[in-house]
Amino acid sequence: MKYLFVLFFIAYNSYNTGLEFESENSSGYFPITQEKDLKQSIKDGQGVYSGFCMRCHLSEGEGVEGIYPPLANSNWLAEKRMESIKSVKYGLNGEIEVNGKTYNNNMTSMGLTDREVADVMNYIMNSFGNEDRDLSQVTLDEVSSISEE
C-alpha cells in the first residue's frame, strides 16, 4: 500500500511538472476506458457469480420457481437489458414476469463495483442457454452510465 502511494506521488508530481510545458488549451481531455476482452470478462464474471448470485439463482441459472427467477433462457434478461444491469447494480424490489411466471421478491444491491457488474452480466449473458441470443457485450461505460432513477 505504501509502495503504491509512493508510486502515485511520483507520477502525480511528474504530471504536474509536465503540465507546465503545455499550452493553456490542453484543459479538455477525456479519460480513456479500455474495455476488457469479452472472454476475460466472462471468466471473471463466473467468479462473481459463484460468490454473489449462485446461492439463490443456482449453478445453472435455473432459479427456484415462484421464488428466485431463472437467469437461464431468460426473456427478461434478453428484453430488458438496462433493467437487468440496473437490478444487479442497485437491486430489484417488486413484481416482475420472467418466462411467463410471476415473481415478487426483494434482491438487494450486492455492493459490486461497476467492473464486477459488467463481468457478471457478461458471464450470465453468455451462459445457461442465453448465449444463443447473441447479446452484445456489457461494457464498463454502459454500467457506469446507468443511474438508480
Binding site: G51, L58, S59, N93, N105, N106, T108, G111, L112
Partner: protein
C-alpha cells in the same frame, strides 16, 4: 438406445431436482397471523433488541442504527467502516443484560478495517444513554479481510453468566477456515463484556489458536438465542444446498463443517459423503431442503399460547417465519407463519411479549396474536 437411456436419466434427474425444492414436512396454517408494520424505512432490518421499557434498537444492513420509542423511530448512528457488500454490512445488535447499570450496547458489522482489501466481521461496543449513542469501540476484528461476499455470521447473545457470544461464518473458504482454530471464521466466539477473552475459554492456552474461539466447524450461523430454561446457547446455521442445522453450543466442540454435512454443493455435486464422524457434533435438527434460516427466538410470553416454549426462525428463501415445535427428542412439528411475507431476516420477542419480525423490503413488523 443409449441416447434414450441418457435422455430418460436426464429428465428423471431434472424432475428429481424440482421435487427436491418441495418441503413436505412443514404445515401451512389454515388461518395465518396478521401483522402491523412498526418501522417501514429500513430495507434490511438485520438485528433487533429490546430495552426494559419496551423501546428497541434496530439495525439496517447499509450501516445505520435506529432507536424506536413511543411510535417514533430515530437514527442514532451511522456506523463507520461498514463493508456493505454481498451478505455483509451492519448486522446484529445486542443490549447488555444489566442495562442501564451497564449502559452498553454491542453490534457486529462487516468491517473494512485492516491492511488487506475487502472485509471481515467486527464486534463493536458503544454507550447508549438517554437515547444517544456514543463511544464506539471495536472489541474484536476478524482477519484477514477478503473481497468474498459470503458468510459473515453476525449473531450476538449473552448467557446467564454474562459472557457474550458472537458467530462468524466461514467467509466462503470452507477448506481453509472452519476446521482450523488458528484462523478466524466458521466459529462461535466467547468474550467478557469488556471484549477481553475469558481465561477458561477452551483454546486459551493453545499458543496457535485464536483464544476467543468457543466452538468451531460452523458454516454460517445467523441465529443465536439462549434457551430460556437450560441457559444453553442455541444456534442455527445455513447449510449449502440442504443441511441447514440447529446446534446447541458446547465448549470446545467441533460441529463438523465441511467434513460432515447433510447438504450438497449448489451445483448438485457432493463434497462429502459423511454425515457423522467421531469427535464431531450432530445437529439437534437439520433442514433438507434448506430454508436459509436467519434470526431466532424462543417464545416465552403468554400472548401466543400455541407457540409458547417453541422456536421461531426466519426463512430468507421461502419468505415465512418458521415455527418449530420442540421437545427433548428434537423437532416434533413445523409450521409456516406469516407465509409469503418476504425474506425474514430477524425475529425477537419484545419486552411487551409480542413477536417482532424484521423483513427485507418491508421493515420491522409486529405479529398480532389470534384473538
Amino acid at each position: 438406445m443409449m441416447n434414450i437411456k441418457a435422455l430418460t436419466l436426464g429428465l428423471l434427474s431434472i424432475s428429481f431436482m424440482a421435487c427436491a425444492q418441495n418441503d413436505n414436512t412443514i404445515d401451512t396454517l389454515e388461518e395465518d397471523y396478521s401483522h402491523e408494520v412498526i418501522i417501514d424505512n429500513i430495507e434490511i432490518p438485520w438485528g433487533l433488541d429490546f430495552f426494559e421499557d419496551g423501546s428497541f434498537l434496530a439495525t439496517s444492513k447499509e450501516g445505520q442504527i435506529f432507536y424506536h420509542k413511543n411510535g417514533t423511530t430515530t437514527k442514532v448512528a451511522d456506523v463507520p467502516n461498514v463493508y456493505n457488500r454481498g451478505q455483509g454490512g451492519l448486522m446484529d445488535v445486542k443490549i447488555h443484560p444489566d442495562y442501564p447499570q451497564k449502559p452498553w450496547i454491542y453490534f457486529t458489522h462487516a468491517s473494512t478495517q485492516g491492511d488487506e482489501d475487502g472485509g471481515h466481521t467486527a464486534l463493536v461496543k458503544a454507550d447508549f444513554i438517554d437515547g444517544k449513542l456514543s463511544n464506539m469501540e471495536t472489541l474484536y476484528k476478524a482477519s484477514p479481510n477478503t473481497t468474498k461476499g459470503q458468510h459473515f455470521g453476525s449473531r450476538l447473545e449473552f448467557d446467564k453468566d454474562g459472557y457474550l457470544y458472537m458467530s462468524i461464518g466461514d467467509r466462503g473458504e470452507r477448506e481453509v477456515n472452519p476446521q482450523d482454530i488458528s484462523r478466524d471464521a466458521g466459529k462461535i466466539y466467547r468474550f467478557n463484556d469488556d471484549g477481553s477473552v475469558p481465561e477458561d475459554n477452551p483454546f486459551y492456552t493453545d499458543g496457535n489458536a485464536k483464544k476467543a474461539i468457543y466452538s468451531y466447524g460452523h458454516r454460517n450461523p445467523q441465529g443465536m438465542e439462549i434457551h430460556p430454561e437450560s441457559g444453553e446457547i442455541w444456534v442455527h446455521e445455513h447449510g449449502p444446498r440442504g443441511g441447514d442445522e440447529i446446534n446447541i453450543i458446547k465448549k470446545g466442540a467441533n460441529y463438523g463443517w465441511p467434513v460432515i454435512s447433510y447438504g450438497i454443493n449448489y451445483n448438485g455435486t457432493e463434497f462429502t459423503d459423511q454425515t457423522s464422524q467421531p469427535g464431531m457434533e450432530q445437529p439437534f435438527y437439520y433442514w433438507v431442503p434448506s430454508i436459509a434460516p436467519s434470526g431466532m427466538t424462543f417464545v416465552t410470553s403468554d400472548k401466543y399460547p400455541e407457540l409458547k416454549g417453541n422456536i421461531l426462525a426466519g426463512s430468507l428463501k421461502f419468505q415465512y417465519l418458521e415455527h418449530l415445535v420442540i421437545n427433548e427428542n428434537g423437532v416434533q412439528k413445523r409450521e409456516k407463519l406469516l407465509n409469503k411475507v418476504g425474506r425474514v431476516r430477524s425475529v425477537k420477542q419484545g419486552t411487551d411479549g409480542f413477536i417482532y419480525v424484521g423483513i427485507e423490503g418491508v421493515g420491522v413488523v409486529k405479529m398480532l396474536p389470534k384473538s
